[in-house]
Amino acid sequence: MIHVRNLSKHFGDLVVLKDVSVDISKGEVISVIGPSGTGKSTFLRCLNLLETPTGGSIEIDGIPLLAKGTHVPKVRQKMGMVFQSFNLYHHLTAIENLTIGPIRLLGRNKADAQKKGMELLKLVGLGKKADSFPDELSGGQQQRVAIARCMAMDPEILLFDEPTSALDPTMVSEVLAVIRRLVREGMTMVIVTHEMEFARNISRRVFYMDEGIIYEEGTPVQVFDNPQKEKTRAFIHRIRSLEQRITGTDYDLYALQAEMEAFCDKHMLPKKVTGHVVHMAEELLLLQRDFTNIRLSLSYSEKDGSLAIGCESAGAPRNPLEEGSEEDEIAIRLIKARCSATEYRYEDGKNVLMLRMKGE
């Protein structure tokens, strides 16, 4: 149905997509996930030429989009697109938004178009809002009208560009429900989304995009439960991290702690946990001997709430938790008490220590 070969897109010097090749067959539901700014939306917008690709080829239903002589608007009529900001026609009522395409583009007569439109509006649960103007509808309602507007053109493919990002959390589910319903009807769909659970449940395949390419792809089970690559994993587990560097003994401990506290606040960790983190870091630093190059990292998984502190330091191999002097005894005990697991290795001339904090 959709064949993309070596698709690339540059904005000036900025490379957004590089050599993306993808095949999507009829009836497939594809979710595209990934961090912001990695080309997900650009990829989607290239599929219907809202963005003109810099290179490569796109074939929709056997029609080469980028070839000269292709009547692109005709192809687009077969591909509906749902926008993050809904983009309903402001000067038209809900029903008019649905009928303008069929009447002006498909040559339907007004009565037929209105009948079909009303059916679709009822389908998305907005039969009563037919005569409302977009600015009289809530965000969720507007997005449902926008989906119905696409359906009114009898499309073969639907493209969703973060359909729920601009919505209140309370309205997300109503829109997702409508999309789920379309999935059941066997529509070919490409959905760019941040709703991970939703993506896992409805899609046949998941594309994880990063660095301008499809970084990892597979079934939802493969991608979500057993991601192969580091970045994918971090993204799936929604790991946030903070890195700090120390290059001498006269480092500013208070600034360091303040930064850690800010990080914890940002991810809304309880005050008690924050206290533990700051305390642990201090103890950990007490155990260090060589301060020429210390990398302190704090990572937090939003998904399971686990916290880990890592410490890399230069110098001869030495596990501070094992080879401490007498004064270190209390610090070592304190650290061990707070951790569910500790891990030490010597790698590339560095002592690497990982501490996993106990959950609450």
């Binding site: 687009r76 077969k78 697109m81 926008f83 000067h91 038209l92 009522t93 395409g101 583009l105 103007f133």
Partner: protein
Amino acid sequence: MAMNAIIPIRMKFSRVFLLLFALLSLIGCSKKEAAITDLNALSGGKTFAAPTGTVIDQFVLKRFPDAKIEYFNSALDCALAVKGGKADACVYDLPVLKNIVAQHEGLTILPELIVGDRYGFAVQLSDTALKRTIDGVLAELKADGTYDDMMKRWFPDRGKPAPMPDIPLTGSNGVLRFGTAAVTEPMAFVDANRKVVGFDIEFATYVARKLDKKLDVTDMEFGAMLPALIAGKVDMIGAGLSITEERAKRILYSESYYPSGIAVVVKAGASPAPVKGPAKMRVVDDISDKRIGVLVGSVYDTYATRKYPNAQILQYANVSDLLIALNMDKIDVLYYDQASVPDVLKTNPGIGQLAKDVFSIPIGAGFNSDNDALREQFNAFLKEIRANGVYDDMVSRWMKKGIMEMPDIGAANPKGVLRAGVVNDMGMPFGLIHDGKLIGFDIELSSRFAAYAGRAYEPVPLQFGSLIASISTNKIDIITASMFITEEREKMIDFGDPYYESGVSLIARKDHIEKAPATLMATADDLAGKKIGVFTGTVHDAFVQKKYPTAEIYRYESSADMILSVETGKIDAALFDSITAKLLMKRNSGMGLLSENILNMPLGVGFSKSNPGLRNEFNDFLREIRADGTCAAMTARWFTSDAEEAVMPKFPTFSAGRRLVAGVSIDDLPYVAYMDDDYAGFDIEMIRSFAQHKGFKLEFVTMEFPALISALAAGKVDLITDGIAISEERKKQIDFSDSYADFRTAVVVAKKNLAQFAGSEAARQARKPFFKWVADSFYSNIILENRYRLIIDGLKLTLLISIFAALLGTILGGLICYMRMSRNRILSGFAAAYISLLRGTPVLVLLMIIYYIVFASVNISPSIVAVFAFGLNFAAYVSEMFRTSIQSVDKGQKEAGIAGGFTMLKTFVYIISPQALRHLLPVYKGEFISLVKMTSIVGYIAVQDLTKASDIIRSRTFDAFFPLIMAAVLYLLIAWLLTWALSTIEITVDPKHRKIKRLPEANR
């Protein structure tokens, strides 16, 4: 109700009482406090204010043992304490108190000092050379008057010290290090620009200049000055430094440069009543009991003293002081050289000339009585320059034109020096400093004489009073300082032949000069210097400029405007064709004729130079009608009898035949007018008759008079006629027929300004009752001669032009907007250029360019040209409105349309434009209405729109008010109608409105 009315009255009463009480207590106070005028009045336990930390209190107590001393922080606080009544007197150093008193009203310094003191500069004990230099500079400054200037600068009678002059120091000889304590205004202080300035600093600068050194001023504590000097850190110190014996042991003082001392400031007594009441002056002899300012030792001095023994003659040392005194109301009037008066009036807007030519005296160059040779040489020189025109040139440059430039004069190989005594603040045109250079008539004369005599020229600037003394002692060789030749002076010095005869004016503050009633005019010669109204582009314009060069010319486009200006006094007189003028008299009883015929010119019909055939045809025709008596009948009808009663003969109109376009400007009867919905008048009859004779298909085109000739030159019309006088200048551009009539010019002035009507009742115009006046105006402006039809036609044309221009402009604007938004650089560049060009050009200019240049050779209706020009202009504005309203539509709308399968065009039509329209309409409406109003200028290209129609009516009725108001009301109506129409559209495109309309349907 009653209560409410009473309360305010009672309040008023209480206020009046309060006021009275305050007044009484004030009077009481001033009686009680006798003004202190001498030091002895301060004995007997008075309160003295003195600054803390000084020894002044000791001096006071020595003199007044029973004095009470109050201490304040500064001398200023002490003075303010006196002013506020907290102390009776304030004591401090004289210069500081002088400065304070000058800046604060109501205080005065007692003449007697408590103790005397002298200020001196000081140098190191061994540095006698510097001391001698300082003393030398002091003597020099006193000798050449600079010292007096300094005193004036730093110790003004009123106000702050003047800024320090800029004294350039070249300083090739090292640096003079001057130490001072900049805390004593005005001796040494820090000014607003944070510079150390003051009397002492200025003095030190002169010393440095004398030594050819740079000056390095060091500001230090007062107490540090002496040690710094002794230690050799500075060469010279000075900051109001008193000369004491104790100090003189350690440092060397200069001569005292300022006699100071501890002075006393007390409250000023009640200021003496103004010398004379504010009786205004009208004629010269009104000054007999006034304060007259004169230059000391000048001829005015003697003249005034002799002529007005009752007057108070106040002598001043120089002209600038005199002018300041006049401005400050210290004197009422002053004599001034007539030639310099225009310059003074220009720079002093508050001063006016009371009288001129009060008397007249010859001016001569002065010589030492023993120096006959030089005097004779001068007389010979004077004869020569009078003969060779140099003198006339000088008079013309300095006296008449006021050119402030000195020619370059100098003898080639000067032998000896000619020292000329001059006064450098005499003012234009005699002698002044301009751009740092000494210039003026006197200066040029004496320097020319020096060149003539083969001597080097050395001007010696002196005070007027010291000129004679200087020449008597041979300090100077010649006086050229606009000195009047008087008997007294001739006793002391010899004068050369007079080189100029100057009149003397009296000048005074304008508010003291009583305006003489406007002089009545009796003959045409009285027009000189008056404000005269003429028609733009007529021969009158050039005539008045030539004949009355002093008159101010006001140019008008219509006779109605001009006569209104005479009525309201904006102008004194107006030039009209004499027949028009007579008609005008009839309708306007307040007008009179000053002269019936000041200019006589033949009238002719104008033809294009490229069309001599038509002109010859016309001349033939003229000869014919002269021969067969038709011409005589026409003259009788239009010129001799009352043109208003004349009836145009009927002429058949030809629909076939050659086309003949005649340009007229509808100035008024008897030549061309618009009566009973048709053209009428002598010229019209003549041209119609001509067309009939020769079988032309005749058309008239109306335009402004100044545009007639350019229309003819551009080939827009075949001939022009409207009482056009044949003048040489016009002959250069167009050809004239033989003269068909004579054009006599009359001068119309308001009767009240006419000598012959002086005092007569007729001069005062009777006022009609308001409603009667409105009714009359309505009748004469609307009903009479079917004038409403003019208005209706004009209205139609205004509407048509507006609507079609708007249509064209909108379509074109859309196109321009498309090009502007195009990605094609050439298209968008062209559109941007179009927009900035059209928006930057006045639409009137555009209109004229299109009519007279672009379509010069195309026969096109001016109305279409108007539609075209306004359309082009409108397009430029509208295209930008289109662009902004399109850009104001959210980008997502376009994306949704494109993604939904609409093509670019369909997206624009169905999605963008309906939304853009809502942004566009409100601004479009405003632009449209201004377009309608803008069309009022189409009269310039011969379109009779609403404005032109009202102009035509005004030219017949001379009623400015009614037709203008009517035009305004009609424009207002049009604007209102169009606003309403566009608002209706605005509502229809509002989607919400559609919904409201649809709701009842749904409810059904």
